[in-house]
């Protein structure tokens, strides 16, 4: 195979054929590399596109590479085609606004995981595993882990969303939590928490672990809601001081 020839007139309005290969050589090259196109398409799975669509994009890119391939240049066809097919697959996602969609998809999955987790907790009587969440949402385990990781950021963005009219999440978190968002800070939180009086530890736990409102805590502890508010403020201030002290000692 491989000789120069004039491109000549195209046989169809949209069909592009190789100026370098005979029709038989062209067909042979396409047929023998369909497996390559399929394998490359599979590398792009789990990004929200069905395999069939990806295989189609890859196969068309394969045809394009065959039609552009000039054997006289001494380039290995499979290497040349791989580059073209991956380029086309990437372009496919880019043209579909994939960068935006990917972010939205992760956000959506993160939200979906919240619902699935609640349902599975009810159903199983324990927290679900990643594998169970993956099965429940139809996502891969990797996607679930990725969404959970990404969800740490989205959670911060959704603080202003109200969970209910009388208890918006922003009110629950307040300004105090902002500085304790990182894993590193939370690692310091344990020792600092242990230095607080038992009642303050208990109130903090009810508020931030059990998710009780200030009014509910007030009823549970037998004090006024205003008093709970003041206790929370002072406890959080003590925690902050303790963490800052531990942080400075660490550095």
């Amino acid at each position: 195979m491989g000789r120069e020839q004039d491109p000549g007139p195209q046989s169809g309005a949209t069909r592009t054929e190789s100026p370098y290969l005979t029709p038989a050589e062209r067909e042979e090259l396409i047929t023998s590399n369909l497996g390559l196109a399929h394998q490359l398409a599979r590398r792009f799975l789990h990004r929200g596109e069905p395999l069939d669509d990806l295989v189609q994009v890859a196969s068309m890119a394969l045809v394009k590479s065959v039609d552009r391939f000039d054997p006289s240049r001494g380039v290995d066809f499979a290497a040349f085609a791989t580059r073209t097919i991956i380029g086309e697959l990437k372009r496919h996602f880019r043209d579909k606004g994939w960068a935006v969609r990917a972010s939205r998809r992760v956000q959506e999955l993160y939200l979906e995981l919240g619902h699935a987790t609640a349902a599975l907790v009810q159903q199983l009587g324990r927290n679900p595993t990643v594998a169970e969440l993956a099965e429940a949402t139809g996502a891969s385990e990797e996607a679930v882990i990725e969404a959970i990781e990404a969800g740490q950021g989205y959670r911060a963005a959704s603080i202003d969303a109200s969970e209910s009219e009388d208890d918006p999440l922003s009110a629950r978190l307040g300004e105090y939590d902002r500085n304790y968002a990182s894993v590193e800070d939370r690692a310091l939180l344990g020792p600092a928490l242990a230095t607080l009086p038992a009642r303050e530890q208990s109130i903090l736990r009810m508020r931030f672990v059990d998710g009780l409102t200030q009014s509910e805590i007030a009823v549970a502890v037998g004090v006024s809601q205003m008093h709970v508010s003041r206790l929370l403020s002072s406890s959080l201030q003590k925690l902050r001081d303790g963490i800052e002290q531990a942080g400075s000692e660490r550095s």
Partner: protein
């Protein structure tokens, strides 16, 4: 505003070690995502790197007795690039000449050609080492 403690800068190096099993390559991809994002790679470059690191791990595993040893992934931020080195230490005697294995390795190398700026692989003293380098803003295709 970007939190300065959430970024990786020149010279920062992260190491991940895990049992040399294909089903754990997901760990390498996840860590690569997190590191690439913190090193300022855009989402497309990040996806390229994820894909490339998967192939890198396959290359390191290729031809080895994958039931033994650890895969060590080392990611270093060097200027506007990330260098990833995947090492399979003390790999058992390997049949690297099998046609099927060669085909797998060849495909991985072709994919790496399309995704990163540079890559390579060498075997020495029973260890297999595969590496890649990708720059930000390079959009290899």
């Amino acid at each position: 505003m970007t939190d300065p403690t959430d970024t990786l800068v020149n010279g920062d190096r992260i190491e991940l070690r895990f049992p040399a099993r294909g089903d754990l390559i997901v760990l390498a991809r996840l860590v690569t995502s997190a590191i690439s994002a913190r090193a300022g790679f855009d989402i497309e470059e990040l996806e390229d790197l994820r894909l490339a690191v998967g192939e890198l791990c396959l290359l390191a595993l290729h031809g080895s007795d994958a039931l033994h040893g650890d895969l060590c992934l080392e990611l270093t931020v060097l200027g506007d690039a990330i260098v990833v080195v995947c090492t399979l230490e003390r790999a058992a005697a390997a049949d690297v000449t099998g046609p099927e294995g060669d085909e797998i390795a060849l495909l991985s190398e072709q994919i790496l050609d399309a995704l990163v700026d540079e890559h390579g692989r060498e075997s020495r003293d029973g260890s297999v080492r595969a590496w890649l380098r990708k720059r930000r803003g390079g959009h290899a295709e």
